[in-house]
Symmetry: C2
Subunit: 355 residues, 2 copies
């Protein structure tokens, strides 16, 4: 006799485009502070790269005393560093800008968090040394393709100022959640730059070049730049640190509820310091109350929060969440509009109806 | 030597809620006129039901001459009917109402299409006969749960007027795309009511009861009812036939393009008759041109359409699509707002930027 069991019900990635593959994490349905590799959001500029892992070596050259090429075995054998890090696409929540910004219409899920293990970049640089004139490090990925503003193929490349590159938590990672990094997330080596939006965390690192000037690649000076004006480039400045932010996970926007007791829950994060406070409003921002943080807020990682809401009166409620970090940065009520739609971090809000 | 291959890149269902499971089809990424079972949108009112397939029988009783219980073997052995049918949730596109309607925030993917095979309901009714006083047939599903407006457990039940029930294309289906119906979509038997929104196509049929009055179950008289007014129930009327509709699949909303030649593509469908015409506007509705239908439009199924667009001038473009069916129903420019957000069928529109 065959019995029907309750079939597995699970969330999936949310497809934004397939070529290149851009899919977001179903963040409302992530109950864990560690996102499984297969639900980690995927954000690519190009097709996935082809290269041969057995020939994989990491060269560090340019303005160094001793150019060097590291094998994976060498990298694995060096002292390691393991950190829990939020990676957030700088286009996360782009869909919520008004007026709308063009580009991938990320909702709230271009963000994931997990445990990255690797070697501090500064450890590798101790082997090569760095010439005094060095100013930036350029990280080239194996991924490449066409850009509308170029008639040549371009690799995805980004730079870091030398001070940021030398921070002990800037690592060349080889594991995610105790496993080799999934190919789609940068196997075998991915740069992890905690606290910066994730365009900085270059996947499939092909080479590291130390340079004595500012890097001018298109992913440094054309994209990933805040343009505050719609029609011209005045006032532009680069995208770097993650803005203080929060997301309500439950209830869902436009959910129908009945009177009773609810646990409103969500996450909050920042690129600088840690989260000090998350406040919630149940009356569209007129009054605010403090949420409970369900764990200690740590540098680089999101903190989960919740709030017990007893709702006795039927009607419509606008629920807002607002995080404050240890540098006193607070989510603004309105986002900072910019043409390419980066860094959205306005107070989160949903609306529910109690029937 | 290990080589990296381009890893499989594929779309997934888009999670709207997990309990009950509501996930929509990634309709922008469906290139086929037949949706695979695992990308068919899932819309449930309750948890998935438990029942024992080896004890499965379908009773037809009530206002009939000879009440009867059919085994699956009997049903499989009767003359079959195979039809390509659009199933669309009446809440499809609810997310686009302004003011917003509460409930599951379906975007454009609460719709799927495929090949259903089964026996005409009228064939089964020839075995039982129907008493003259019969007015409606009630289809009860195995799925049940709580409702806020009831202190008893309720099964999902819906009725059809006897005339609709007797149409030859109203079938008791047992196959989808030449396979047994997937459990999540109603195995072993699902009512298929072509041309009606999919709440009528009851899954996991437990029983069919012929009644001599109008059925008053909550999924007939509370939900799946158009309420044109926000504050009171005046002017209400039931949700039945699918409205004429169309969806632009490519380009994506807010996509960045370069100048060049594009194939704009999409689908169009209606509950009554077939699609006569799909028009497209590239200038926010000022002028309209006729699209090419890529197949003959058939009753009950969507038709794919495309339009070759050569864009030479940079700028922002609002693209709209508008379908007309063989009963001269045309998509309106504004949706018919109703409190529970059913039957959205305004002209579809997206905006792209050509750089």
């Amino acid at each position: 006799m065959k019995k029907f069991h309750q079939p597995g019900v699970k969330p999936y990635l949310i497809t934004k485009s397939l070529n290149p593959e851009n899919q977001e994490t179903p963040i409302q349905f992530i109950n864990n502070n560690i996102v499984d590799g297969n639900l980690f959001y995927r954000r690519n500029h190009f097709s996935y790269p082809h290269f041969t892992s057995s020939f994989y070596f990491l060269p560090i050259h340019g303005f160094v005393h001793t150019p060097r090429t590291f094998s994976l075995q060498e990298i694995y054998s060096l002292p390691s560093r393991t950190i829990k890090v939020v990676l957030e696409c700088s286009g996360d929540k782009r869909d919520f800008f008004e007026p709308k910004a063009f580009g991938e219409q990320w909702e709230k899920g271009a963000i994931s968090q997990g445990i990255w293990k690797g070697v501090s970049l500064r450890t590798l640089l101790q082997y090569t040394g760095v010439i005094d004139a060095a100013k930036e490090l350029v990280f080239e990925g194996y991924d490449y393709g066409e850009r509308p503003d170029s008639d040549q193929m371009v690799n995805f490349s980004r730079s870091l100022p030398i001070e940021k590159a030398l921070e002990p938590d800037t690592i060349i990672a080889y594991e995610y959640n105790n496993q080799p990094i999934p190919f789609k997330h940068g196997f075998p080596l991915r740069l992890i730059v905690p606290g910066w939006y994730a365009m900085a965390s270059v996947k499939w690192i092909k080479s590291i070049t130390v340079i004595d000037k500012e890097f001018k690649g298109p992913y440094q000076t054309v994209d990933y730049v805040y343009y505050p004006n719609k029609e011209d480039d005045s006032g532009k400045f680069p995208v770097t640190t993650i803005n203080v932010n929060s997301t309500i996970q439950y209830p869902l926007n436009r959910q129908l509820l009945t009177t009773g007791l609810y646990h409103i829950k969500g996450i909050a994060w920042t690129g600088k310091g840690s989260i000090d406070k998350v406040e919630i409003s149940l009356d569209d921002g007129h009054t605010w109350e403090t949420c409970q943080l369900t764990s200690t807020s740590e540098k680089y990682s999101w903190v989960s929060w919740n709030y017990q809401w007893e709702v006795l009166k039927k009607g419509e409620y606008t629920i807002k969440s607002k995080a404050t970090d240890s540098h006193a940065n607070v989510q603004p009520s309105k986002p900072f509009w910019n043409r390419k739609g980066y860094g959205y971090n306005a107070v989160d809000h949903i609306k529910v109806k109690v029937e």
